[in-house]
C-alpha cells in the first residue's frame, strides 16, 4: 500500500516537473518573440524615417512627369514652332539629367536604408553574443541569435502615387501599359514605369508604400509572414551589394533562433519569424 502511494506521488511530481519545464520553455519562446517583435517594429520604423521613402517615390513620379511634359513640348516645337526648338531642347536635356539624378539618389537612399538595417542587425548580434542566456530550474536557453534580417515589401500594397490629372496623355499611356489601376489611377508597386521612346532608357522605379488615408498615416505594424516578399537580405552577415537592391524596401522580416535545453536530455532550436511593415507615406506632398 505504501509502495503504491509512493509510486503515485513520484508520478505526480514527475508530471508536475514536466509541466513546469514545458511552461518555462514556452515562456522563453514568448520572451524571445516579444523581443523580436520590438526589434522588427524598430527596424521597420527606421526604413521610412521622416517619410524619405514616400518623398523619394513622389519625386521619382514628378521627375517622370517633367520628362514626359518636356518631350511633348519638344515634339510640338519641332512640328509647329521650329524657332522654339533650341529652348525646348535645352529644357528636355535638363529634364533627362534630372531624371538620372533622381534615379541615382533613389539608389543612394536604398543603400542607406539597407546599411542601417545591417548595422542594427550587427548591433543586436554583438549584444546577444555577450549575453549569458537564461538559466532556470530544469530549463536553459541560449541567447537569441539573429539568423536573417530581410528587407522587402508587403504583397498587395500599392504605391502612394496617383497619375497626374493635368497630363491626360500620360494617364492614357499608363493605362495602356498597365502601370496604374483602372479606377483610382494609383501606380502599381515595384515597377519600372518606363516612358515611350526615346526616353525608355530612363528608369522610374516606384516602390510599394501605403498612402495616407483621410489624413491618417499608416503606422509601423506587425503583419503575417505569408505576405512578405523579399527584396534582399540586409544582415547580419556582410557582403551583400546593396546597390543591386531593385526597389526601396517598405517591410522587414526577422528570423531568429534560440537553443532551449532541459537538462542534458531535451534540446531543440526554437525559431521565431516576425514581419513588420514600415510606416506609410504622409499626407503632405513634397
Amino acid at each position: 500500500m505504501l509502495a503504491v502511494v509512493v509510486l503515485v506521488a513520484i508520478i505526480i511530481v514527475a508530471v508536475l516537473g514536466i509541466g513546469i519545464v514545458v511552461s518555462m520553455m514556452m515562456m522563453s519562446q514568448k520572451r524571445t518573440q516579444s523581443d523580436i517583435e520590438t526589434l522588427s517594429l524598430q527596424m521597420a520604423t527606421g526604413i521610412n524615417k521622416d517619410d524619405w521613402v514616400g518623398q523619394m517615390n513622389s519625386m521619382t513620379e514628378y521627375s517622370r512627369e517633367l520628362v514626359f511634359s518636356s518631350r511633348s513640348a519638344l515634339n510640338e516645337a519641332i512640328a509647329h514652332h521650329q524657332r522654339m526648338r533650341p529652348l525646348a531642347l535645352q529644357l528636355m536635356d535638363e529634364a533627362r539629367q534630372s531624371a538620372e539624378l533622381i534615379e541615382s539618389e533613389r539608389r543612394e537612399l536604398t543603400v542607406l536604408i539597407m546599411k542601417d538595417l545591417q548595422k542594427q542587425s550587427n548591433d543586436v548580434a554583438d549584444a546577444a553574443s555577450s549575453k549569458p542566456g537564461m538559466r532556470l530550474p530544469g530549463v536553459s536557453a541560449d541567447a537569441t541569435q539573429l539568423k536573417n534580417v530581410d528587407a522587402g515589401y508587403i504583397d498587395g500594397v500599392l504605391t502612394n502615387l496617383t497619375s497626374a490629372e493635368g497630363l491626360p496623355d500620360l494617364r492614357e499611356y499608363d493605362q495602356q501599359e498597365k502601370y496604374i489601376t483602372q479606377k483610382s489611377f494609383v501606380y502599381l508597386p515595384n515597377i519600372n514605369a518606363k516612358l515611350p521612346a526615346p526616353d525608355d532608357d530612363l528608369n522610374f522605379s516606384f516602390c510599394s508604400l501605403p498612402a495616407a488615408a483621410k489624413n491618417t498615416v499608416a503606422p509601423a505594424r506587425l503583419t503575417s509572414n505569408s505576405v512578405f516578399k523579399k527584396l534582399m537580405t540586409a544582415g547580419p552577415e556582410a557582403g551583400n551589394d546593396f546597390t543591386k537592391c531593385k526597389f526601396l524596401p517598405s517591410a522587414v522580416q526577422i528570423v531568429s533562433s534560440t537553443k532551449v535545453s532541459s537538462g542534458n536530455q531535451l534540446s531543440a532550436p526554437m525559431s521565431v519569424s516576425i514581419t513588420a511593415a514600415s510606416p506609410g507615406a504622409t499626407t503632405r506632398l513634397p
Binding site: D50, W52, Q55, M56, M59, E61, Y62, S63, E65, L66, S69, A73, E76, A77, H80, H81, R83, M84, P86, L87, A88, Q90, L91, E94, A95, Q97, S98, L101, I102, S104, E105, E108, L109, L112, A164, E165, G166, L167, P168, L285, P286
Partner: protein, 210 residues
C-alpha cells in the same frame, strides 16, 4: 517752396507708376502667378543632393474678356461666351541646386489662345532666397515655352524689385541675353522677354538665341 514742389512731383510720379501698373494688369487677359517656397523638411537624408527643395506653385486666372465683333458673330452661331477663370492651380515645379527636377501638373492651361497676359513672380523671404530666385527663373522659362506653344503671347514678367538683378542673372544662365534695343535696330531672336519690377522703376528686355 522747393520742398513742396519736390513732394508734388514725387506724388505725381508715384500715381503715374501705380496707374500704369494697374492699367497694364487691367489690360492683361490672363495672369500667371508663380509663388516659390522651400519645402521643409524634405529628402534631408545624409549627403542628399535634393535638399533644399524649392517648390514653385503656378496659378493661372483669366479675366472676363472684351467681346469682339468676331466673338459676337461666333456666339450667334452657337459658340460659348468667354468666361472668367478664377485663380486655378496649374502645376508645381520642383527645383534643387539650380535645376528643375520634377513637376506635378493638376490642370491643363485652359486660357484662351491668342490672348495676352503677364507672369507675376512672388519670392518668399526665406533663408534660401537665392535658391528660390533660381527656381523662379527656371519656372518662368518653362511656363514661357508652354505659353508660346499654346499661342498665348506674354506681355511681360513682373518681379519684386529687390530680386530683379538676381532674376535677370538667372535668366541669363538659361541662355537669355539682355538687350538694349536701338531705334531701327533689328534683333534676330527666338524668343523675347520683357521683365519689369514691382514697384516700378526697373525694366529689361531679354532675347534667347542669336
Amino acid at each position: 517752396m522747393f520742398r513742396f514742389t519736390a513732394f508734388v512731383v514725387l506724388i505725381l510720379c508715384f500715381s503715374f507708376a501705380l496707374c500704369t501698373a494697374r492699367a497694364m494688369a487691367a489690360t492683361a487677359d490672363w495672369v500667371i502667378t508663380i509663388n516659390t517656397k522651400v519645402v521643409e523638411p524634405c529628402l534631408n537624408y545624409p549627403n542628399s543632393k535634393l535638399n533644399p527643395l524649392i517648390r514653385s506653385s503656378i496659378y493661372f486666372e483669366q479675366n472676363v474678356l472684351e467681346t469682339s465683333e468676331i466673338d459676337k458673330e461666333l456666339q450667334k452661331r452657337g459658340a460659348e461666351p468667354d468666361i472668367a477663370i478664377p485663380q486655378t492651380l496649374y502645376e508645381y515645379l520642383y527645383s534643387s541646386h539650380l535645376r528643375t527636377v520634377g513637376m506635378r501638373r493638376y490642370k491643363q492651361l485652359d486660357v484662351k489662345p491668342g490672348t495676352t497676359g503677364i507672369i507675376k513672380v512672388a519670392i518668399s523671404n526665406s533663408s534660401y532666397r537665392q535658391e528660390e530666385i533660381n527656381a523662379a527663373g527656371g519656372a518662368v522659362v518653362r511656363i514661357y515655352l508652354d505659353l508660346y506653344l499654346n499661342k498665348m503671347p506674354l506681355r511681360s514678367i513682373v518681379v519684386q524689385k529687390d530680386a530683379f538683378d538676381a532674376f535677370i542673372q538667372e535668366l541669363q544662365r538659361h541662355g537669355f541675353r539682355t538687350v538694349t534695343r536701338m531705334p531701327g535696330q533689328l534683333t534676330q531672336s527666338v524668343a523675347s522677354l520683357s521683365i519689369r519690377s514691382e514697384p516700378a522703376g526697373r525694366q529689361q528686355l531679354m532675347n534667347y538665341g542669336m
